[in-house]
């Protein structure tokens, strides 16, 4: 595969493409709470509960944005800036990856997969700092836990990216998407399947669904939630929204780049884009179903077994790289 960068850099920037790029970001902002709502609803249904309905996250956000902000006395400017940075990071990443269209749009060449990963990590780094900022015990414990887990998850993520680069000969997500659609042999090859499995484990780590996480608000088990315990009102809403968008972005990378690269708009027509949006929702609901099943049948582990799923994911990535070297 030749390097497609020069060709894509010379594309004329049309109004349509700018509109499409804005639509990608807007779609991420708008549809992220819907996916979260679907996951929560599925979990409740699987556990024979009734569930709050798939639109509950929108109502929650509406409620939070109409509340007052309470700020701890010990908090510094970091406390104010972290939610904004996190939210903006999650708005930036959808520009770099194929959300609706399978061809690059204006500013898509700002960064490759590694750049997207950097910005995703920057967002959660700021939240970790904000958790430490106010000096409360829960923020500290949440920040240290999420730091240790991301220290172990990051090398695997890099290995997955290396594996993608080795089989696609490119780090651009669009090239990977085109390659997987064009060549079913590559799609069914062991390298790709192992990368999908490794990334699936990373997906559960990054979206707070690892079997050591707790979805309920019990302080002993909290990881991601403990970092933002001090926030309230619109700032809390912003953080919630940012974490839903992070989940949406990771699902996008998983589906549109690795696992289900089909049904994307390839010409940028309005019909195609709307169809791609519906297809994205369907794909995400499928992945959410898989995540919920894994989350339900896997029993909770104690916290100090956090390294086991990550070691498994590391191993899968190593096997994928080995099989790209051979196959």
């Amino acid at each position: 595969m030749c390097d497609p960068r020069p060709m894509w850099n010379t594309l004329p920037m049309t109004v349509r493409d700018v509109v499409l790029q804005i639509a990608q970001v807007g779609f991420t902002i708008g549809a992220a709470p819907l996916i979260q709502g679907c996951i929560v609803q599925f979990e409740e249904r699987v556990q024979r509960g009734r569930g709050p309905g798939i639109f509950q996250p929108y109502r929650d956000l509406w409620k939070l944005f109409h509340k007052q902000i309470v700020v701890p006395e010990t908090a510094s400017w970091l406390f104010w800036i972290a939610p904004v940075v996190a939210f903006v990071c999650m708005m930036t990443v959808p520009m770099l990856i194929p959300v609706l269209t399978n061809f690059p749009l204006p500013l898509s060449n700002m960064g490759d997969i590694l750049g997207g990963g950097l910005i995703l990590t920057l967002g959660s780094f700021m939240i970790t700092l904000a958790g430490l900022d106010s000096g409360s015990a829960y923020g500290g414990i949440g920040s240290s836990r999420s730091a240790i887990i991301s220290i172990l998850a990051e090398p695997t993520l890099i290995l997955v990216f290396v594996g993608i680069t080795l089989f696609a000969r490119s780090m651009l997500p669009f090239v990977v998407n085109h390659l997987l659609v064009a060549k079913p042999a590559v799609y069914l090859g062991p390298a790709h399947l192992f990368l999908v499995a490794a990334f699936f484990i990373l997906l559960t780590v990054e979206t707070d669904k690892l079997p050591i996480h707790s979805s309920t608000h019990i302080e002993v088990y909290m990881i991601e939630e403990a970092r933002i315990l001090e926030y309230s009102g619109p700032l809390y809403g912003l953080l919630k929204w940012a974490s839903m968008m992070k989940q949406f972005v990771l699902y996008t990378i998983f589906c549109n780049v690795l696992a289900l690269p089909w049904f994307m708009s390839s010409r940028g027509l309005a019909v195609g884009v709307i169809g791609a949006g519906i297809a994205v929702i369907v794909k995400f609901v499928l992945v959410a179903g898989a995540i919920v099943v894994v989350d339900t049948i896997q029993s909770r582990l104690r916290f100090y077994r956090y390294q086991e799923p990550l070691a498994a994911s590391f191993l899968l990535a190593v096997l994928a790289i080995i099989s790209t070297q051979i196959g």
Binding site: A185, G189, P190, Q307, F314, L315, L319, I322, I326, G327
Partner: protein, 226 residues
């Protein structure tokens, strides 16, 4: 020896089966429960049986069908059943004191796969074997042997040690199915009965351990008597 110049589709099927059985070896390495070891071992044996049947179909060795059926019956059903009986009777559900944590043994296993790849590439270049399938078979064979040795060294329940031996043997068998598919059938039968003897011997050993020491862990075998 058509495995050396197989068509791409056949090559991808072979590599998928080989890598899936390597993955099952890792399942054994990363778990703590005896029952998971046994299930993974049985699944691995079934995969190897499918592999030898497909090699027999593609390369037209009719005796490989018999070997596939024997593999599935012996390694896929009989040996796991015998081991399961030992596990049930002795009530050893899991490794009580792991010498190596599952996660670190997984990482060591991954390193050994990389080492096996390096060795296989070296063998491939020195013997002028350019075929990808051959390199893959060599890699999987060597790394399953290394994983078997690791299980023998890092586990001390007698049952998981015999499973380490069986994984080692499965690796060699998988390699021979791809590299030298026309092996005499008598040899295969001898190996299968050898395995049966290994399992029976370990059964006796486990009973002896239970009677003398009161546990099935080989950690208690410290004194050399003779």
């Amino acid at each position: 020896m058509t495995a050396f110049h197989a068509s791409p589709v056949v090559a991808s099927i072979f590599s998928l089966i080989a890598i899936a059985s390597l993955l099952l070896a890792f399942v054994m390495l990363g778990s703590r429960w005896m029952r998971h070891y046994l299930m993974a071992f049985a699944a691995q044996s079934w995969l190897i049986a499918i592999l030898s049947a497909s090699v027999g179909y593609i390369d037209r060795y009719p005796e490989l069908y018999v070997i596939a059926i024997l593999t599935a019956l012996f390694r896929g059903l009989l040996l796991p059943y015998l081991l399961l009986r030992i596990v049930r009777r002795m009530n050893v559900e899991r490794e009580i004191v792991p010498v190596l944590q599952p996660s670190s043994s997984l990482v060591i296993g991954a390193i050994s796969v990389v080492f096996a790849l390096a060795v296989a590439e070296h063998i491939g270049t020195s013997l002028d074997l350019s075929s990808k399938v051959v390199i893959l078979a060599l890699t999987v064979m060597l790394s399953m042997k290394l994983i078997g040795y690791l299980m023998l060294a890092a586990r001390h329940e007698a049952v998981s040690q015999v499973l380490g031996l069986l994984v080692l043997e499965n690796g060699i068998f998988l390699g021979t199915q791809i590299l030298v598919p026309g092996m005499p059938m008598l040899l295969e039968l001898v190996i299968l009965f050898d395995l049966l003897i290994v399992v029976v011997c370990f059964g006796v050993l486990v009973r002896y351990l239970m009677g003398q020491v009161g546990s099935t862990s080989t950690l208690h075998l410290r004194r050399l008597v003779g």
